[in-house]
Amino acid sequence: MMKTIEQTETEIVEDFALFDSWDDKYEYIIDLGKKLPPLPDEFKKDENKVKGCQSTVWLVADYRDGKVFFQAESDAVIVKGLISMLIRVLSGHSPEEILAAKMDFINKIGMTSHLAQTRSNGLLAMVKQMKHYALAYSLRQN
């Protein structure tokens, strides 16, 4: 049985509770970033870009059996680590579940600063883009 979005969020929050310094948190995120499977080059095109001021994110979604699957990559490794967590939480769920996801684990693990509006390719932009895909698939469904 697949975990719910909320269960995965709780898991991540529990993982982060083990770290007692920012250095450790970021090392963990960097590690996640390094482990994120690379996005095949054919997907690295402009239409998949979530372009921001500083780094580039490519995000693609696939819809199979009523579930949305995400793949993404960035040229910055911390962003990649953050993406990896978003994928872990949202990928493989139905559009409705993704649209309803609160994603408050981001605040709970102290990554609020990455939500800032100014970091236009921050988590906020990525979450928004993922929800856009979910919305598009949910409309197609109906």
Binding site: Y26, I30, C53, Q54, S55, V77
Partner: protein, 415 residues
């Protein structure tokens, strides 16, 4: 912070200077703040903060209009800044000092008045390949509107202007040359005096974007003989939202007004309005009184320490940082030349600048990462952006060492 701050040279009391900047006491993420984003904006000394508080709590009034005491006091302080600025850049008269919101507005003012009036179809505007977007976009807009052409002085691999190419670009069609005095992205000091002479020889008008130079170099607009000089208060210890446009009086007089409203008028009827004298002709509406007033203590502070002293201190910091940075394997300084002020911009092989920025911030160290609003320059070097450390009079070599420690650790973790 290590209390034994190295005495950099005799007479430069870095410890007492640091005490004048209250923000330097704060901690970020549990570490003492190391502020190396001075090219974006400088921190403010207590005297500037006090001037803002004093104005709002003691003599807040609109300027130039009232005859009551508050209005007179506010006007006197507001105008005292104009005299301070006049001396600061050695302008010939106070009428040549126009208050704006900042460098960007100063440049736009010239674009929408002088350039709009004087650029004919086929005329040419020359800028450089290392301009801030603020000194690119206004000219693009006006050139498009007036069917003029925008030409760009190329930059070499060391981040210097190719002066031979500049001379080739100059022609009888050149009406305006607009270049920065110091590059915000690399710190390169450009040979503006030569540029001005050569442009004048062709009959072109020259605007110097002094946003990055006003804090660090002696500015003498008469010696430079520039026609316009634009800079911002907030990069020279003063408040945000305040800037200066210097213009030669004879040019300013011929220019159409920028914005209409109160203050800039002499007489208004529904048939016709006549305009006020310089500099008020260009200052429509209630100005940014508090920030204008608080620019004076900023200039006074710089004058008190002395620009030569500031520059010696900053040169020492820049040399120390550049030397230490080059010890990192795979690090490349962008704009590696020997005529720079206060900025070192770099990239590190295999590491994205943004990742470095996040990890340095994690240690309380503020640097700038990204394209520094100079995308064409980044494209020239084929990089998405750089990490930029920019220094000010209150920074120390110990702070640079803290940055190096954090940087070395970051590179190790990221690679």
């Amino acid at each position: 912070m290590n209390t034994t701050i190295e005495a950099t040279f005799k007479g430069y009391d870095i410890e007492s200077i640091r005490k004048d900047f209250p923000i330097l006491n704060r901690k970020v993420k549990g570490y003492p703040l190391v502020y190396f984003d001075n090219a974006a904006t400088s921190q403010k000394p207590q005297s500037v903060i006090d001037a803002l508080v004093h104005y709002y709590s003691y003599n807040n009034a609109n300027v130039h209009r009232g005859i009551h005491s508050l209005a007179e006091e506010a006007t006197a302080d507001f105008e005292a800044t104009r005299d301070a600025v006049k001396s600061f850049i050695n302008a010939q008269s106070r009428e040549e000092i126009i208050y704006t919101r900042g460098t960007t507005e100063s440049i736009n003012l010239v674009a929408y008045t002088w350039a709009k009036q004087n650029l004919a179809e086929g005329d040419e505007v020359i800028i450089s390949g290392m301009e801030h977007h603020s000194n690119i976009v206004p000219w693009q807009i006006i050139c498009e509107q007036n069917k003029a052409r925008l030409k760009v002085i190329p930059v070499n691999i060391n981040g210097e202007l190719l002066m031979d190419e500049f001379e080739n670009l100059l022609s009888d069609r050149t009406k305006l040359v607009a270049v920065n005095h110091v590059s915000n992205a690399m710190g390169t000091v450009n040979p503006v005096k030569t540029i001005i002479q050569k442009a004048h020889a062709k009959g072109a008008v020259v605007l110097i974007d002094g946003a990055q130079s006003a804090m660090h170099l002696d500015i003498d607009v008469q010696d430079l003989d520039c026609d316009f000089f634009a800079f911002s208060s907030h990069k020279l210890l003063g408040p945000t939202g305040m800037g200066i446009l210097y213009g030669k009086k004879e040019l300013l007089q011929t220019m159409p007004v920028f914005a209409g409203g109160g203050e800039m008028i002499r007489e208004v009827t529904f048939e016709k309005t006549t305009y006020n004298d310089l500099p008020y002709k260009f200052e429509a509406g209630t100005p940014n009184i508090a920030d204008a007033i608080a620019l004076k203590p900023a200039i006074d502070y710089i004058n008190k320490i002395g620009k030569e002293n500031i520059r010696r201190h900053e040169d020492m910091l820049l040399a120390h940082a550049t030397k230490k940075l080059k010890e990192i394997e795979g690090l490349k300084v962008i704009g590696d030349n020997d005529h720079k002020v206060s900025v070192v911009s770099f990239v590190i092989e295999g590491v994205h600048p943004q990742d470095i920025g996040v990890l340095l911030d994690n240690r309380g160290i503020a640097v700038r990462t990204g394209h520094h609003c100079a995308e064409p320059l980044m494209n020239h070097f084929c990089i998405p952006g750089t990490i930029r450390a920019s220094f000010a009079l209150y920074n120390t070599t110990e702070e640079i060492d803290l940055m190096m420690e954090a940087l070395n650790r970051a590179v190790k973790v990221l690679r």
